[in-house]
Symmetry: C2
């Protein structure tokens, strides 16, 4: 399976509007450092799935018929805001597989247009083409799912954002899943007290120690994290990496 | 005052996602026919105001400090969706003057970031730089204001969308306002029964007959309206015009 990091930014992205920090200035000058709303495109020979819909130009990037489904981690605006425009399309319904959030976001459920929302059950695997996905509950201020994604030939990739730590049941699932790669929320630089809603770098490393992925990419990154990396010149272990927008990996 | 129609489309815009009608095909081939979310930039020597925030690239079009305020007609997503990203900016608060809608849209009130929401009272004039604006109630499925905008030298412009017909008090205000130009909701081609939430062409003409603007531009236009215009080759009276994206007028 091929994974494209279509966005690796937290809410507000990089550059952050009006911010003059070194990371934001760099991102304005060199677009390869920009971080759009956190999302990923998953492709195999048989399917094309978009994980999260915060990109505000979804309707331009993905012409009608080019996606088999959109899969949502949760209904915070930075993960669904591209749907507000897309929903008014014409033609075939587009499946939007989502966590069982009774509220959704604004009037998306009420005026769903071409979007066919379908709520998923945690830990209950489902198939899309040649992929099997299992929703994994995460710890966040809204009902949130990560996804364990497996190809028919046993390649495995976990997508885990937005979260602060992991629920025990999700940790156990990953510990018994077999070899896998993953993308993980790392919204904050190391903090004295871990934040309420997202991993800081320390907590992200702790999760990695617990579930032992063969490789991991940090995503949902903020300008703070980029500033910290520029200050510290920190070097990650060989099996860890910072994701960046448009990075393509093959699992 | 200078007015730029930064967007002249209804919800879904033109081209509409996945639509193969003649207006949508034309808009894909020739970008001057595209219609972005309905909005307008109002400029004088002293102020720069954005009317509605449905453009999804507000944060790129208007760098921090370049707008004095955003003024909202209402909290439907196609009029506020650009705020979801913009709010996470750094630095000075940005005034967002809005109708007294208790709900706003999604979590905009709760997580307002740099946005300083300020609810306006209908018919109570307020000043921004050398402009005086008066909120005018409209008929729509959410609390909605049009705005009567006047310069210190007596140039007048009314911005009236989204609406189906006009409330009587708004009609009376405009009838006694003196000479003015206006932009008016014309979301639908002529319909047998006028639609519930927006003007069709017939109702738009009726409003124009009632309030007698010196000039009027139709906006909040749909692909249906553009198709109808292409089919009919209809010619408007000299004081009426179809707005188009990036059209600049001086009042
Ligand atoms: Mn997020
Ligand atoms: Mn979130
Ligand atoms: Mn509208
Ligand atoms: Mn509306
Ligand atoms: Zn910054
Ligand atoms: Zn069309």
């Amino acid at each position: 399976m091929q994974i494209t990091f279509t966005g690796t930014g937290g809410a507000g992205g990089v550059p952050r509007y009006g911010c003059e920090c070194v990371a934001c200035i760099r991102a304005r000058l060199q677009t390869q450092y920009q971080r759009r709303p956190c999302s990923a495109l998953i492709e195999t020979d048989q399917v094309r799935l978009l994980l999260d819909a915060g990109l505000m130009d979804i309707h331009e990037r993905f012409p009608a018929g080019s996606l088999d489904a959109i899969i949502l981690t949760h209904f915070h605006a930075d993960h669904v805001q591209g749907l507000f425009h897309l929903r008014w399309g014409k033609g075939a319904q587009l499946p939007v597989l989502c966590p069982p959030d009774p509220d959704g976001c604004a009037d998306l459920y009420k005026n769903s247009g071409i979007l066919d929302f379908c709520q998923l059950e945690p830990f209950k695997p489902f198939e899309v083409g040649d992929l099997t996905l299992t929703p994994l509950p995460l710890n966040h201020s809204k009902v949130t799912h990560g996804y364990a994604i497996e190809t028919s030939t046993g390649q495995r990739f976990a997508y885990l954002t937005d979260t602060v730590g992991l629920p025990e049941a999700t940790t156990r699932f990953l510990q018994s899943w077999g070899a896998f790669s993953m993308a993980l929320d790392c919204s904050h630089r190391p903090q004295a007290r871990p934040p309420a809603n997202h991993n800081d770098f320390n907590l992200a490393l702790e999760i990695i120690n617990q579930v032992s992925p063969s490789q991991a990419w940090f995503t949902h990154l903020s300008h703070e994290v980029d500033c910290w990396r520029l200050e510290e010149g920190f070097r990650l272990h060989d099996n860890l990496a910072w994701a960046s927008d448009d990075l393509i990996i093959k699992i």
